[in-house]
Amino acid sequence: MHELTYEAPTSLGQAISMLAAVGENGRLLAGGTDLIIQMRAGVRQPGQVIDAKKIPELQTLSFDTQNGLRLGASLACCKIIEDATAQQQYPGLVEAAGLIGSDQVLARASVGGNVCNGSPAADTTPALIALSAVCHIAGPNGTRDVLVEDFVTAPGQTVLEPNELLVELRIPALQGKAADCYQRFIPRKEMDIAVVGVGSCVALDGDTCTAARIGLGAVAARPLFAKEAGDSLVGKPLNEETIAAAAKLAQQAASPIDDMRGTAEFRTHLVGVLTRRTLKEAAARARAR
């Protein structure tokens, strides 16, 4: 690995000053399960690594029905997937966070790091898109909020300026009969990168869908929000016909490529299958609330 310096700020202010001082030569270190591999491979070569795990604001895990979930950007996935409130309120997000890797990886990897790494195939990003999550960002000029679907701009690239950091993900509370679900396809049972991942969230009033959001992973250069697909369900009952129509719209939103994990044609097929399955499962969970 290349030579680097290491800093471990213990406050947000300190971290922002360090980022300002080091500029583009710095990189935040959360769980390190992507960054350390990238540094070893020479893909990223920051001169300074700034450990994000000792900043209290980035280790938050809090929920209330008004503000929803606040998820600190460097909090390890194991803490989220073991949290009873997260399991109960956002089962789809917990499913996605639990798929990131082995127990060894989940002990370190964070949802914030998964989003900031900017992979088109990140598991948590489609789940967060379905939940209308907001990225709360801090920098020298204060804070700003960016919708999670706008956060990743290209593979490995985000809207973060070199002097900014992701503080937390803010996930609105689901009201009434509403729930989420995340599923992905991989050619084995565990420990792989998504060929396609889909997150869905639906809200119901009786049999009528009042809101639906669908996030797609690994089918474009960045995670996608399939807005038309979700919107097509609003005001309608969720049945085979309406769900099939939404799945078709999700397929139209996707623009996958052929690669070692699957062909564009297969990925498009998977978007249809997983959109239908996640919508049905989210609806079943919503009805059970």
Partner: protein, 158 residues
């Protein structure tokens, strides 16, 4: 590059070392502290050969910087036996022939210990899930799973 002073608790003992920020915990354990039980495998967090227990969680030491160990409690395979008395997991791995070439074994042992510390009576499914981040190319896993089940039974006094 300036070295950094780090203090950690290693297998129950206060341990300090100097390392460069670019060195992984795996490198530090093997090359600086001299505990070579922890093995280097893939260096990408896929194989689990370098597993250690850090603050109660199984962790790939190849994906931790040595400087991040400051203040942490680390258990390596050297910390399992009590003097000359093997840990029940070690004993059962031998009895069940749950190893052939042995390079993955320290990782399996510490990951299994982390599992049994949190869940003393795991189902076969839970064992297989907990060990999904450890790869073995020799045994086909069944013997490893049986050894962990047997060790759990013995530790439960059954």
């Amino acid at each position: 590059m300036k070295k950094i002073h780090v203090q950690m608790t290693l297998n129950g003992e206060e341990t300090e070392f100097l390392c460069e920020p670019r060195q992984s915990l795996l490198e530090v354990l093997r090359d600086v502290v001299g505990y070579t039980g922890t093995k280097e495998g893939c260096l990408t967090g896929d194989c689990g050969a370098c597993s250690v227990i850090m603050d109660g969680r199984p962790t790939d030491s190849c994906l931790v910087l040595g400087v991040e160990a400051e203040g942490k409690e680390i258990t390596t395979v050297e910390g399992l036996a009590d003097g000359d008395t093997l840990h029940p997991l070690q004993k059962k791995f031998l009895e069940h022939a749950a190893l052939q070439c042995g390079i993955c074994t320290p990782g399996f042992l510490v990951t299994s210990k982390a599992l049994l510390d949190r869940n003393p009576n795991p189902t076969e499914h839970e064992i297989r899930y907990a060990l999904a981040g450890n790869l073995c190319r020799c045994t086909g896993y069944d013997k490893i799973v049986r050894a962990v089940q047997d060790a759990a039974s013995e530790m439960q006094g059954r």
